[in-house]
Amino acid sequence: MSNEFGYIPESPEQSFGNNKGIFTPKDIYDLTRADKYTNYGQLELIETKTASADSQIIFDDIKQDIYNVHFLTVTNFSPSVNQRNLSVRFFENGVEEAGSVYQYAQQYVGSNGAVAEQKSTGAGALRTTNSVGDAVNRVGNGYSYFYNLGDSTKYSFQTYMNDTIDQTNVFYGIFGSGVLPQASVVDQIKLYVSSGTFDCSLSLYGIKEYS
């Protein structure tokens, strides 16, 4: 990395929000890698994955040491087996937590007037969608926020909202939250269906903050 960043012979201190000088493309590249170049856009894409007849998708580099809050979008989730959720499990230090230890509480409202409260203190996974049908145009879309994944002293939380169309063509709006009540570092996120496969586009973002 250049010492000067546009100043010769001075070397002003560079930091996010406080850059001085005239920058070459290499300077910008180096400063960006050093997290010292002002380039607003704190919703930072970590990775987009596309599921095509997959039984699971794993984000294995979620940069939990950088972000306190993660944002996941789920687009056009379509299971091969009728009435399947897109479920979430966490990996703690590389080991999948598959026990009945997750908790969630959610409410859904259906276009047919159905309203229900759903909750569990011993679930095997969290949710990003509710049950989706396997026919044409039966899909689920939504988003989740995850909190504290990289903090070994804190539980890992989720808030989410999604909409789904079930096998009988009833639309549901669903919102809720979840938690893995274990103080641990979560370093991978797995999205999966309990049977069959699914198609889907998944994008994981980090919400960056600069102190």
Binding site: G41, Q42, N148, Q158, T159, I207
Partner: protein, 171 residues
């Protein structure tokens, strides 16, 4: 710059403080507050929020809100209030291991002095029971004024023991 979050203000609490104030709302854009790992010094207290005008928290009775509270071990609740002096952002937040609140709050029309300031909320907390509690809904500050920030504090004069609060502009 389109389609991004721009950080406006942030504060990470590592030693107890009475409150956190984030300012910098100066445009008609939508703003977003993200907070995580927020823990009180006193067990079982609510997290409150007031808007600031020119940096000063407004404590008048102009806060209305309607919330759906989901709980994993108890029945769900509808929580509403009109002409309150605060937005209530959480319920009985605990201090034991793992107990904390986390969430996203979107803020609308804050800078516009001819409109009320609206919020939508989605929070997940582990309360003092302990029990997972989800806090989803919205609120409105019923004053035609220019709001430039948020003032966050706990009920019962509890300090904020820890937490990260970041205010973004959605552009």
């Amino acid at each position: 710059m389109a389609g991004k979050l721009v950080q406006v203000a942030t504060e990470t609490v590592t030693s107890a403080v009475a409150s956190v104030t984030l300012t910098g709302i100066d445009s008609d854009d939508v703003y977003m507050l993200a907070f995580n790992n927020v823990v009180p010094s006193t067990d079982s207290v609510d997290l409150f929020c007031r808007v600031t005008e020119s940096g000063t928290a407004n404590s008048t009775a102009n806060y209305d809100y309607a919330i759906k509270l989901f709980r994993t071990a108890s029945s769900f609740l509808n929580i509403s209030n009109t002409n309150n002096t605060v937005f209530d952002l959480g319920n009985n937040i605990g201090t034991n291991t793992g107990e904390a609140t986390n969430g996203i709050m979107m803020i609308y029309n804050a800078n516009n002095s001819s409109e009320y300031t609206f919020i939508t909320t989605e929070f997940a907390e582990f309360n003092s029971s302990p029990e997972l509690t989800s806090w989803t809904g919205g609120g409105v500050f019923t004053s035609n004024s220019s709001v430039n920030g948020l003032h966050l504090f706990f009920d019962s004069s509890s300090n904020i023991a820890s937490g990260t609060f970041t205010l973004y502009k959605v552009v």
